[in-house]
C-alpha cells in the first residue's frame, strides 16, 4: 500500500516523467530522424511505475516492443535511450536495436525485444539462475519481472513458461498489460470470454487482476506479489487492465481509423493514470500547483538536455557493423 505522501508524489512524478518523455519522442519522431518502429506507452504509465517501485537494481526486468516506460521506470538511462532511437553509437545498444531493443544492465533492465513472447521464457531462465543462488534469509531472492501484453498471452510459450516457473517456484513476476488490443485487433476477436489471470492461477501461480490505470492499486498488488516472489513462494501473475492512447506503432493518435468503438478512447482518457493521481494529490492537499509546475519544469529541462546530448552523439562507424556476431 502507498503509505506516505512522498511515495504517491514519487509515483506521480515517475508517471509524469514517462508521459513527457513519450510525448517528446512523439513530437520529434515526426521529424523522421528516429528511423525505427516505435511503440509508445502513453496511457499505460501506471503499470511500469507501480511495479518497478518495488524493484531494486539487483532485481531484473525483461520487456517487449512497448518498452520505454519499463526501461525508464527501472532507472534506464534516458540519454542512451534517445541516442538509441536516433541510431547513434552511444545508444544503449550502440544503435543496433532502436526502440524495440533496449538494455541497461547497470539498472537491471536486461532486455526488450519485439518478437511477441520472446523474452518471457528468458525472464524465467534468469529467475531460475537467481533461484539457484544461495537464499539470503534477510533479503530473499532477487526478483525478475517480465512485462507483456494481452496479445502475448496467446503465444504457447507463455504457457510453457508458466508451467516451468510454477514447477521450480521461480522468483518471477508476470505482468500482463491488458490493453485489449493486439495491434488493431480487439481481444474479443482473439480470445474467448474469460479472464486471463485465472488461467495463470489454474497453472498454479499466485494471480490477481486489477486496474492498471490506478497507480496506487498497481503499487499495492505489486508489493504483495513481489514480496511473495522474494520470499520463495513462487511465481506471481498480475493482469492489469489499461488502454493505449496513441496508434500501435508510431507517434500519432489513430482514433479515426475506427477500430476502437466510438467513445472508448475518451473514456480511457478520463481514466488517465496521471489525472487520477494528480487529483488525489490535490484533493488531499498533498501537493500544490507550484510543486506541480516545478515538476513540469524540471522534467522539461531534463528532457531537453537529454535530447541535446543525444543529438550530438556520433554515427556508428560502418565497419563496426561486422563486430560482435560472436562473443
Amino acid at each position: 500500500m502507498v503509505q506516505t505522501t512522498a511515495d504517491l508524489k514519487q509515483l506521480y512524478y515517475q508517471m509524469l516523467r514517462i508521459r513527457r518523455i513519450e510525448e517528446a519522442i512523439a513530437k520529434r519522431y515526426r521529424e523522421q530522424q528516429m528511423r525505427c518502429p516505435t511503440h509508445l506507452c502513453i496511457g499505460e504509465e501506471a503499470i511500469a511505475v507501480g511495479v518497478n517501485a518495488h524493484l531494486s537494481v539487483q532485481d531484473k526486468i525483461f520487456s517487449n516492443h512497448r518498452g520505454h516506460g519499463h526501461y525508464l521506470a527501472k532507472g534506464g538511462d534516458l540519454r542512451r535511450l534517445l541516442a538509441e532511437l536516433y541510431g547513434f553509437a552511444e545508444g544503449c545498444c550502440g544503435g543496433r536495436g532502436g526502440s524495440m531493443h533496449l538494455t541497461d544492465l547497470a539498472a537491471g533492465f536486461i532486455a526488450s525485444t519485439p518478437i511477441v513472447g520472446g523474452t518471457v521464457p528468458l525472464a524465467a531462465g534468469y529467475a531460475w539462475a537467481e533461484r539457484n543462488k544461495k537464499f539470503d534469509t534477510a533479503q530473499g531472492f532477487n526478483v525478475v519481472a517480465v512485462f507483456f501484453g494481452d496479445g502475448c498471452f496467446e503465444e504457447g510459450v507463455l504457457h510453457e513458461t508458466m508451467n516451468f516457473a510454477a514447477l521450480k517456484k521461480l522468483p518471477l513476476l508476470f505482468v500482463c498489460e491488458n490493453n485489449q488490443y493486439s495491434v488493431m485487433t480487439r481481444l474479443s476477436e482473439r480470445q474467448p470470454d474469460r479472464e486471463i489471470y485465472k488461467i495463470a492461477a489454474a497453472h498454479g501461480l499466485q494471480a490477481a487482476s486489477g486496474d492498471g490505470n490506478r497507480v496506487d492499486e498497481v503499487f499495492t498488488l505489486a508489493e504483495t506479489a513481489i514480496a511473495n516472489a522474494r520470499a520463495g513462494h513462487g511465481p506471481q501473475f498480475l493482469e492489469l487492465h489499461t488502454h493505449r492512447w496513441p496508434e500501435h506503432c508510431g507517434p500519432n493518435e489513430d482514433d479515426e481509423l475506427g477500430y476502437r468503438p466510438p467513445g472508448e478512447l475518451a473514456v480511457w482518457k478520463q481514466r488517465c493514470p496521471l489525472l487520477r493521481t494528480r487529483q488525489a494529490l490535490l484533493d488531499g492537499g498533498l501537493i500544490n500547483d507550484a510543486e506541480l509546475e516545478a515538476m513540469e519544469n524540471s522534467l522539461a529541462e531534463e528532457i531537453e538536455q537529454a535530447f541535446q546530448w543525444a543529438l550530438q552523439c556520433s554515427r556508428p562507424v560502418v565497419s563496426s557493423m561486422e563486430l560482435h556476431l560472436y562473443a
Binding site: 518502429p37 532502436g98 511477441v116 482473439r190
Partner: protein, 356 residues
C-alpha cells in the same frame, strides 16, 4: 477481350486473393491484421466486407497453433491462406510447417493432402532491425514437400497467388515488402506456370544476371544503365525455389558465358549457393570466368540507418561486379553515378513515411 491492366504488385496480390475467394468457396484468408484498417499493407483491403467475417479473419498471436489449425482445416476441406506480416514470425511455426504440412501427403502415402498457402513478407528498411527483417527463403526452400515461390513482378504475384490457392500442396509465398509499390502489367488470362520455372525478364548476350525477388529489380536497374553503354545483360528472375530452375540459367550462360547471381539474403543463408553448386555439378566448364555472388553480409541487420544503409547491396554493386567481369572497369564510375538515387536508402519509395 483480354483482362489486362497495370497495377502494383500489392494490388495484384489483393486481386488474386479476391478472385480466389470468389472462385473457391472453401478458401479462407486469415492472419494477424488481415481485416484491420491497415489490411496487411492494403493487400487484403475490402475483402472482409465482400466475403464476410467467417472467411476473412484475424487470428490470435499463436503462430504454431494457427498453422496447425490451418493444416487441419485444409484436411477438413477448407483452403486456407495464412498471412504473416513478417517472415520472422513464421519461425514460431517451423514445427507445423516442416513436420506436418510439408510431409503430410508423403507420409500418408498420397491419401491426404494439405492445400495451404502461407504468405510471408520479407523486407528491409526503416530500422526493422535484427528480429524483423530476416531473409529466410533458403531455410524453407530446403524442405522437401513445400513449394516455395518468390514472385518479382505484379503479373507473377497475381498468377502465383491464384496458382498457390488452387494447388493442393503447402505453398510458401514470399513477398519482398519493397516490391509492393512497383507497378506492372497483369494479364489475367495468361495461362498458368504452375509455380515452376525461372523467367527471363530481359534478354541479353553479354552476361547473365540471375536474381532472387527484389534483387531482380536491382538487376534490371543495373541492366538498363549497362545497356546505355552497349552492354546487354540477360536478367533471369529465379522466382521459384522448389526446384531451382538451373536449366534456364544454364541456357542463358550458354549465350553469355558469364554468370552473376544476386540474392536478398546473407551469403551463408543464400539459396544462390544451391543454384551455383548445381550448375557446378552439371554444367562445369560452361563459363568463361568464375561466377560471382552478390548477397548480404553474414550477420543480422542492425537497426541504425547509418550502418544498415550499408548492409544491402543493390544495382550499383551488381553493375560494378558485371563491369569487372566484362573487363570494363573504366565505366564503373559513370554507371554507378547514373544508378545513384536521392531516395533515402531505408525507404522503398517516395510515398513511404515510416514507421513501417
Amino acid at each position: 477481350m483480354r483482362d489486362v491492366k497495370t497495377i502494383s504488385y500489392g494490388e495484384a496480390i489483393r486481386e488474386a486473393l479476391d478472385d480466389g475467394l470468389a472462385q473457391y468457396p472453401e478458401m479462407i484468408l486469415i492472419g494477424e491484421g488481415v481485416p484491420d484498417p491497415k489490411n496487411i499493407f492494403a493487400t487484403t483491403e475490402g475483402l472482409r466486407e465482400k466475403y464476410g467475417a467467417e472467411r476473412v479473419l484475424d487470428m490470435p498471436l499463436s503462430e504454431n497453433g494457427m498453422t496447425g489449425i490451418c493444416i487441419g482445416a485444409a484436411l477438413g476441406g477448407m483452403r486456407p491462406v495464412l498471412v504473416h506480416q513478417r517472415i520472422d514470425f513464421a519461425l514460431l511455426s517451423v514445427d507445423q510447417i516442416v513436420n506436418n504440412a510439408a510431409k503430410w501427403c508423403y507420409m500418408f502415402d498420397g491419401l491426404q493432402c494439405v492445400p495451404l498457402v502461407i504468405r510471408v513478407i520479407i523486407g528491409r528498411g526503416w530500422g526493422q532491425g535484427p528480429q524483423h527483417s530476416q531473409s529466410l527463403q533458403a531455410m524453407f526452400a530446403q524442405v522437401p514437400g513445400l513449394r516455395v515461390v518468390m514472385p518479382t513482378t505484379a503479373n507473377d504475384a497475381y498468377h502465383f497467388m491464384l496458382d498457390a490457392i488452387a494447388d493442393n500442396n503447402p505453398v510458401l509465398f514470399i513477398e519482398h515488402r519493397w516490391l509492393h509499390h512497383i507497378n506492372g502489367e497483369v494479364d489475367k488470362d495468361r495461362s498458368r506456370d504452375q509455380l515452376v520455372g525461372a523467367a527471363v525478364l530481359r534478354e541479353g548476350r553479354d552476361i547473365t544476371l540471375a536474381a532472387f525477388s527484389q534483387m531482380t529489380i536491382e538487376a534490371l536497374k543495373a541492366a538498363a544503365v549497362l545497356a546505355e553503354h552497349g552492354i546487354e545483360a540477360e536478367v533471369v528472375d529465379m522466382r521459384c525455389l522448389t526446384p531451382l530452375d538451373t536449366d534456364s540459367v544454364a541456357e542463358s550462360i550458354g549465350k553469355t558465358g558469364l554468370l552473376l547471381v544476386a540474392d536478398c539474403a546473407p551469403e551463408m543463408a543464400s539459396i544462390a549457393h544451391n543454384l551455383l553448386s548445381k550448375l557446378f555439378l552439371s554444367h562445369y566448364g560452361m563459363m568463361r570466368q568464375p561466377p560471382r555472388l552478390i548477397a548480404y553480409p553474414n550477420h543480422p541487420v542492425p537497426t541504425s540507418p547509418f550502418i544498415a544503409n550499408h548492409y544491402y547491396p543493390g544495382a550499383e554493386e551488381i553493375a560494378e561486379a558485371a563491369l569487372e567481369m566484362l573487363d570494363k572497369r573504366p565505366l564503373t564510375q559513370t554507371v554507378k553515378a547514373k544508378l545513384q538515387s536521392d531516395l533515402a536508402k531505408d525507404l522503398p519509395d517516395r510515398s513511404f513515411a515510416g514507421p513501417f
